[in-house]
Amino acid sequence: MLLLELRNVTKSFASKSARPFVVLEHITMAVDRGDFVCIVGPSGCGKSTLLRIVCGLIPPTDGQVLYKGAEVKKVCDEMAMVFQSFALFPWLTVLENIEIGLYSKKIPREEKKRRALKMIEMIGLKGFEEAYPRELSGGMKQRVGLARALVSDPTVLLMDEPFSSLDPLTATHLREELVDFWLNPNVAPDSVIMVTHSVEEAVYLANRVIVLSHRPGTILKEVPIDLPRPRDPRSDKLYTLVDQITSLIA
């Protein structure tokens, strides 16, 4: 079932020279229920901008984003976002940081707390409810970021390079945990759109990889990834796909 549709999305910013600075051009794509889409591309191709347009944080210059057939004009409350640098509130505890994921929901305070606590348990941060973000390691911070996004039970989860400010070992762990979440029908969002600059990561996680070109970003190719799960991050099949995609970008 079609969840999300991008029609001819173009984004440009005013610049000092006469011509505006075009970041994204004619992006048309669709995301179905059950899709795990990874967007890869060279740095500066507008991947993160695209994600923010999908979420409704910034409007496209031209074109449309449709969610369940209706145009996204402001921040859509059935999507949630995970950020590269976690974007946790340093003055709130782990529990409060997760509760804020339910800020705009009209449910009783106790219910918010109950759901946040459940989330904390699920991401393995039990005992850290009252800790402040600065007391956590990078991996733990991003777990909180993920929990904050998932606690509102979003239909679409948007992830902006969620593992790129973590050390490689932590990133590997967290990636595996993300797969576990994805395969668990109780918590999984209906679909995930993730931006990354690591082709390996994209092929390991996604059902579909969308390759963007260098500035202005346009869709070069969509590559379906049919590898069965759980996947072996070192398998030859996976690496054949990685090489294929990398050659498109380089």
Partner: protein
């Protein structure tokens, strides 16, 4: 025996009531400052258009010497309240307000501007809404700077309050009861023990407020930083004294809120940089100019419409005041006075550097904790409270008046320079010095090639704030009330006081104030800001 005891009691009550007057003024002004600064800063940071107007205004306000505001404020508030005590009272509170509000508004502006972009995105994605944003994002992000700068402003407030109270003792009409006037009156009536008692009471309350209010707030504010403890930003000379530890122990009963005294090690770390935000002034000045022209035009036409007769009368008065012989004499003195003041500041600056530079170097590398404690006590005394005692000694020396005015000016400059320098010396990476030593640099050449260049950025920062403090000090150091007599040296500061308290000529007052403010702004633009950027480009450790 009886009357003596009674005298002691009255004296104590007098002292306490004076102290409470001063404290009350300080707290009122601080609260008013926060109430002004927080919304102002948030709006300036969040709206590009508002920023283009609000920042330059703040920049100008910040350049007006605070003590220069005082006579204007006195005349203004007295005019409004028809000479009642409330007018002087409000003027004193307004004075402290002006010493705090701009600085706190800049702090808010900078804190909100410094919020990482992703946190804004997250707030939008979480649909926090306007109220949610203010409560969860803007206000918390301001806490560290507002606490830290509030503490600095509080200390600065004492300086100005005491000065203001002292200035007023000359005239019965404008007298403000407070700890400043208490100390001054005691000194001038030759009652040294009472003066010392007042000074002790003042220091005691400074320390107590720090211990009971600012110390817990400082600990609380730590939570609101983006990353773990950043010593540079806490760079205030926190005035913790080892000798106070016993006091703290006695204070800490289970029922009291816990007051944590930082360990001395940490205090050393904290004495790093007196943090001065350099206001960013952008090219929006044109817009401000147009807007202010429109505003002035509107105001003028409105008043002309409604107050035609009054306006004619006051214009006549104004023209008449321009023709007063005293006014013209004073006006002719203006260039000389300006020159004299700058020269005085230059001398005070040189003298401050001469003792702070070696001391800072020594303190930064060799000093023991006790030295810092002593320094803490000295710096925590609002220097203006010491004026009567200093004058008492120096005025009778040869060239006494000249010397006194320089020393008094130094009190407004030297601490900024000293604490910045200590911070600068402490932040020199030790391997830099070791490398230089290993190549055989020592003594003077080590100073010239390594120590001085590396401390340059801190020196410039200290100098900017130091000169700012110096301009303020001029107003109390060029015009000295001592023992019922007034001693003056030629300068903008003394002219200002004279115009306010002797001539009562508002026109003259404003001309002098504008001259002073524009000189300060010009020096900031032409000398300090350039030097700062030049030095930062060349000498900064990455």
């Amino acid at each position: 025996m009886q009357p003596q005891a009674e005298g002691l009691l009255t004296e104590t009550l007098l002292l306490l009531s004076n102290l409470s007057y001063s404290l009350l003024r300080q707290f009122t002004a601080l609260i008013l400052s926060y109430l002004f600064a927080i919304p102002y800063g948030i709006v300036a940071a969040r709206s590009r258009r508002a920023e283009s107007v609000m920042l330059p205004i703040l920049d100008i306000l910040q350049s007006v010497p605070i003590l220069g505001f005082f006579p204007v404020a006195v005349l203004f508030f007295i005019a409004i309240f028809g000479g009642s005590r409330l007018g002087v009272e409000l003027a004193a509170i307004f004075l402290i307000f002006t010493s705090q509000a701009w600085n706190l508004a800049f702090s808010t502006y900078e804190s909100v501007s410094a919020i990482p972009n992703e946190l804004f995105d997250a707030s939008s994605a979480l649909r926090l809404g306007r109220v949610g944003r203010i409560m969860k994002l803007y206000l918390p992000s301001c806490v560290p700077k507002l606490v830290y700068n509030g503490m600095m402003s509080w200390a600065g407030g004492w300086y100005f309050l005491v000065a203001a109270e002292m200035i007023t003792i000359g005239s019965e009409e404008y007298k403000v009861a407070g700890i400043g006037s208490y100390i001054a009156e005691a000194t001038y009536s030759g009652n040294l023990s009472h003066a010392l008692l007042g000074l002790g009471a003042l220091i005691f309350s400074v320390v107590m407020v720090d211990l009971l209010l600012w110390a817990p707030l400082r600990d609380y504010a730590e939570r609101f930083r983006y990353e773990a403890f950043a010593a540079q930003e806490m760079g205030q000379p926190t005035f913790y004294l080892r000798s106070l530890k016993w006091l703290e122990k006695r204070l800490r009963r289970p029922s009291l809120p816990t007051v944590r005294l930082r360990s001395l090690e940490k205090t050393k770390e904290i004495i790093s940089v007196v943090y001065t935000p350099l206001p960013k002034v952008k090219a929006y000045l044109k817009f401000v100019r147009i807007l202010s022209i429109i505003l002035v035009a509107a105001l003028v036409s409105l008043t002309l419409l409604y107050q035609y007769g009054e306006v004619i009368k006051s214009v006549n008065g104004f023209i008449k005041s321009l023709k007063e012989p005293q006014f013209l004499i004073e006006l002719n003195l203006l260039p000389q006075a300006l020159f004299a003041s700058i020269a005085r500041l230059g001398l005070a600056y040189a003298a401050s550097l001469a003792w702070t530079l070696p001391l800072a170097a020594w303190l930064a590398w060799r000093a023991r904790a006790a030295a810092f404690s002593l320094l803490g006590v000295l710096a925590s005394i609002p220097a203006t409270a010491l004026f009567p005692l200093i004058i008492n000694v120096t005025i009778h020396l040869p060239y006494g008046l000249f010397l006194t005015s320089i020393i008094l000016t130094m009190t407004g400059m030297q601490w900024y320079i000293l604490f910045n320098l200590i911070g600068g010396f402490r932040s020199i990476p030790s391997d830099t010095v070791e490398t230089a030593r290993s190549f055989g640099l020592r003594g003077l050449s080590l100073w010239r090639k390594v120590k001085l260049p590396s401390v340059m950025p801190a020196l410039i920062t200290g100098s900017i704030t130091g000169w700012g403090g110096g301009w303020n000090a001029l107003i109390v150091s060029e015009y000295i009330n001592y023992g019922g007599e007034t001693y003056t040296v030629l300068g903008l500061g003394s002219m200002l006081d004279k115009a306010a308290y002797e001539l009562g000529n508002l026109t003259l007052l404003l001309i002098i104030l504008v001259t002073m403010t524009s000189t300060i702004m010009l020096m900031n633009r032409v000398i300090w800001r350039r030097a700062y950027h030049y030095v930062l480009d060349r000498y900064r450790f990455e």
